[in-house]
Structure formats: C-alpha cells, structure tokens
Subunit: 280 residues, 2 copies
Amino acid sequence: MPTKANARQHGTYENLRHEIARQHPDFSDRLRVIAEFALEHPTEMALGTVAEVAQRAKVQPSAIVRFARALGYGGFTELQQVFRSRLVASVPPSYKERITGLRRDGRFQDANNPQAVLTRFASEGMVSLESLQDRVRQADLVRAIELLGAAETIYVLGLGGSFPVAAHLTYVLRKLGRRVVILDGLGSALGDQAASATPADALVAISFRVYNPDTARLFPELVARRLPAISITDSLLSPIVEGASVVFEIPDMPEAALRTMVAPMCLAQTLAVGLTLTLD
Amino acid sequence: MPTKANARQHGTYENLRHEIARQHPDFSDRLRVIAEFALEHPTEMALGTVAEVAQRAKVQPSAIVRFARALGYGGFTELQQVFRSRLVASVPPSYKERITGLRRDGRFQDANNPQAVLTRFASEGMVSLESLQDRVRQADLVRAIELLGAAETIYVLGLGGSFPVAAHLTYVLRKLGRRVVILDGLGSALGDQAASATPADALVAISFRVYNPDTARLFPELVARRLPAISITDSLLSPIVEGASVVFEIPDMPEAALRTMVAPMCLAQTLAVGLTLTLD
DNA sequence: ATGGCCTTAGAATAAACATTCCACGAAGTA
DNA sequence: TACTTCGTGGAATGTTTATTCTAAGGCCAT
C-alpha cells in the first residue's frame, strides 16, 4: 500500500517531481512505468490526452488515471494542470518566478506599503529590461542605426505617456551632435512641426497603448511621404507598425501594475549611443 | 517591412502572429477582438478550451472557431497546436546564469556591437534598480507621499537630462487625478510658471549632474517661499538638497556609460502610485 | 493445490468538448 | 421601403475525452 502523504502541497511542478520519485519504489508495475515516463516526458504529460499518453507510455488509459489518483489527485486532468504550469512558467521569461519569489518573501505583501510599491516597480523594471535583451534582434538594431545614421534630421514622435521617452531620446541625440526635431505638438502645431521632413530624414515613433490619437494620425502621413520610420511600440497591431522600416515590439508585462517606461527608455538610449559608436 | 513578407507557412508561432496582424484590419468586429486577445494571451490560447477562451475574450465560442477558420485552419484545435508549439519551444530559461554569463565573458566589452550596447544599458539599468530598492528608506517614502497628499497643487521641476523624469511623473500624477504643474521653462517663463506656488503646495525637484542652471536657480527661491520640497538627485552636494524636506539620493554608478534614467523614473512612479494607495 | 487479494485490460459510460446550424438583426443597396 | 448580404449569438449536435466498472489474470501464503 503506497503511503498517501497528503501533507504535500499540490501545485508546483518541482514538488510533484519529488513526490513521484519518493513513491516510485512503492508503486505497482504499471504505475512505475508511468512514473518514469512522466518524469522523462513532462511536456507530453502536459499537452497530451489520456489516450495519447497511454499509448506513448505503452499502458492502458485507465492506468494513467490510476496513477493520478495514486498521487492524490482527483484524476488525470488535475495532474495535468501541474505539468502545464511548468510550461507556462518557462515561457514568459522569468518574471513570474521572480515576482512570485518576491511575493513569497513577503516583501511584496501589502500594496499599501510604499516600499512594497517601490519593490514591485523596480522588479517589474528589471524583468522588462531582461526580456528586452531577449527580444530585440541584432538585425533590427543595426538596421535602425543605419537609418538614423543616414538621416539628415531625425524626427522624434512620442506623445502622451510615451513623451518622456521621446524627450530622453531627443536629449541624448542632441548631446551627441545630431540634428533632431521633437514632434511635441506644442501650440497644436504637430503637423507643421513635421512639414519639412523629407525621405532623406528619419522618424523615430514611440507609442504604447492607449495609443495617442495624434500619433496615430501623423505617423501614416509621414510614412506616406516616404520618411523611413523606426517604431517602438507594444504590439504589432499598433497604429505605428504599418509602413515602418523597423519595428521594436516591447510587449507589456501581463500583470504590470502600471506601464513602466524603463525598457523603451533603455532601447532609445541604445539607439542613440549605438549610432555614434558605429560611425567612428 | 519589419520582417519578411507573408510567406504563409502554417506551423510556426511567429508566422501566425504576423498573419494575424496582417489580416487584423480586414476582420469583422468580433474577429478583431479575438485577434487582439490571441496576440496578447498566447498562453491562454494554448491551454484553454474553446469555452474558456471565449469567456476570457468575452465572445461566443462559435466566434473562436470562426476565427480559426478565418486564418485557414480547420478549427480551433488546429490553431491551438500552433500556440502550443510556442510553449514547448521555450524549454529551460535560466536567465540569471545567462546574464551573469554575458557579464563574465567578453561580449559585454565590445562596445561597437549594438547588441552589446543594449545589453550593457539593460544590465546597468537592472543594477541601478536593484540598488534603488536597497537605498530608499521607507521613512522617506512615507514622508514624501504625505507631502504630496497634502499638497493642493504639485509642482514638478526637472530640466535638461532630467526632463523625461519630470514629464513621466507629471503624466502619471495627472492620470491619477492630481493637480500638477510642470515647470518646463516653456517660453523662458520658468519663474512665472512657479509664481503662484504657495506653502500649501509641494515641489518635486529632479536634478542630476551636470546640474541644470535654471533648476539650481529656481529651487532655492521656491524653498525660501516655504514650499515643501522633495528632491531626487545624485549627491548631497547637489543644489536641490539644501532646504528640501525629503531627499532621495540616487548616486550614479561609477562606470555608467551614460546616465540611465531608469531608477529615477521608477522612483517617481512609486511616489505617484503610492500616493493614491495610501489615500484609499 | 487453492483461496484471498491486488493488479490489470478493456469495454462501458458519462462528461466535456469543438463544431455546426439556424434564426435574428444590422448595414448596405436598389 | 423592400431586398440582400454579412456578422452574430446561442442552442443543438456529434465527437472526443476522461473516468468508472467488471471480469479475468497473476501472485503469494497457507
């Protein structure tokens, strides 16, 4: 009779692995076969149906269900959830683990504590920087820098919540000796500010949901005038994607409390600095 | 074009993403809703049942199936396979190792490679966020939030390189319903913009070396008029320290290639959000 | 040997599921 | 206004899927 230690906490994949390993010697023949299969093919356990898993493990479907019950689960479906959690944990890089880690530490606990808020934003910022490194492709970076390098004047378009990024990019580019026009809509002269842009120039557009209407309006006009465009946005459905020469997609973190601008800021700065380095 | 044209091969997740984005404008209402949901929640698309996905996307199950067919698949099940492939593709992340690995080996040094620049800035940003969590004292946060909460109008002063931080803070505070005046010196009217500030208001000043002369000039004037001041700066010797009610000191990293604004941005956002939380 | 007990295979069953169908309604056209 | 087309919601449908049940097989102690 296999010991049923119910003190075990269901849920985490690692716990399940150890539990399977622990009970393994006590299992019956079939159950042991399944236990080994489960540890070696966690992905198939996560995605397959009972029949598929049974076939791959060369046992009967009913044996799979018995296996799940022997581990204390109500059935295969419940067990499968644990294997699926492993998949979802690994895909959006590590932020989930990191944040749940913080949550476990207690540092995250009450949102009414200002320090907890700081910890949260800082953590989200770090994670977004981390994923930025993963997502941005070298080729896009090179292409964007080429466009900027060839431009006589660089136009920067970022309104609403994205304006700080535009301001930062403008500041750095000017410090580095570039000719830059920031399209800030001052005096409601947004269109006029960009009136003299030509295909010999370049545009950097920054926009995140909710997309600023003026940005959405001006961007297509500018690309229609054959202005090469570099877009920094959060989705391929954003209004500044179509017609852009290079698109940097920086998706929002699912559970971000409030959009953090750190990743776009960092990318903007990279473009500016990379520009001067490659021209040396 | 950001990526290669629509060579339409089913199977890979990235292709599917672009295909969805491409067809998005032509879709009907419901289909567009689903398209957006699919791009934003690929994990749920991979693991959920039709009914679950439909509920989360707030559409009918039949609409989900129609969506799959519109993309050329036989049904939801076929489409789901593609989303599942994304899950299995990303196996073991282990980021911390990878990043420290990057740092250790030479790829960090070669500054002429744009991707190296990105890696460098992102890493510096992460480090600065980490140290921000350590340095900022709970008491200072609480005090600063109290001051902001008591203020009738919040004045934000950040010029030159610090302007993006000021802009971001202003944006978030206004979104949260605060009355905010940003002292941006537009039309060289810096002094006039702050003329009506009273002790019932509050000032947030942001300045980093090299300190903007206008900031250095205006700040003492305002504190002399008994305006409570919160300073975000990099040194206790900065011109916005003396007379401030709360000082957040965020020292520059010794070898930062170029100042990264991520830590100040993060702190500013914390102040704004913390303000609303404590008032609930 | 043989009776008791546990395990197993496979069919039976019930639940969950994806998919289809149809009627309704809105938007466009003559 | 009347007619057509297309999009949509919701129930009906038929299929897939997990689970349960039962009879039979193997093992061991007596």
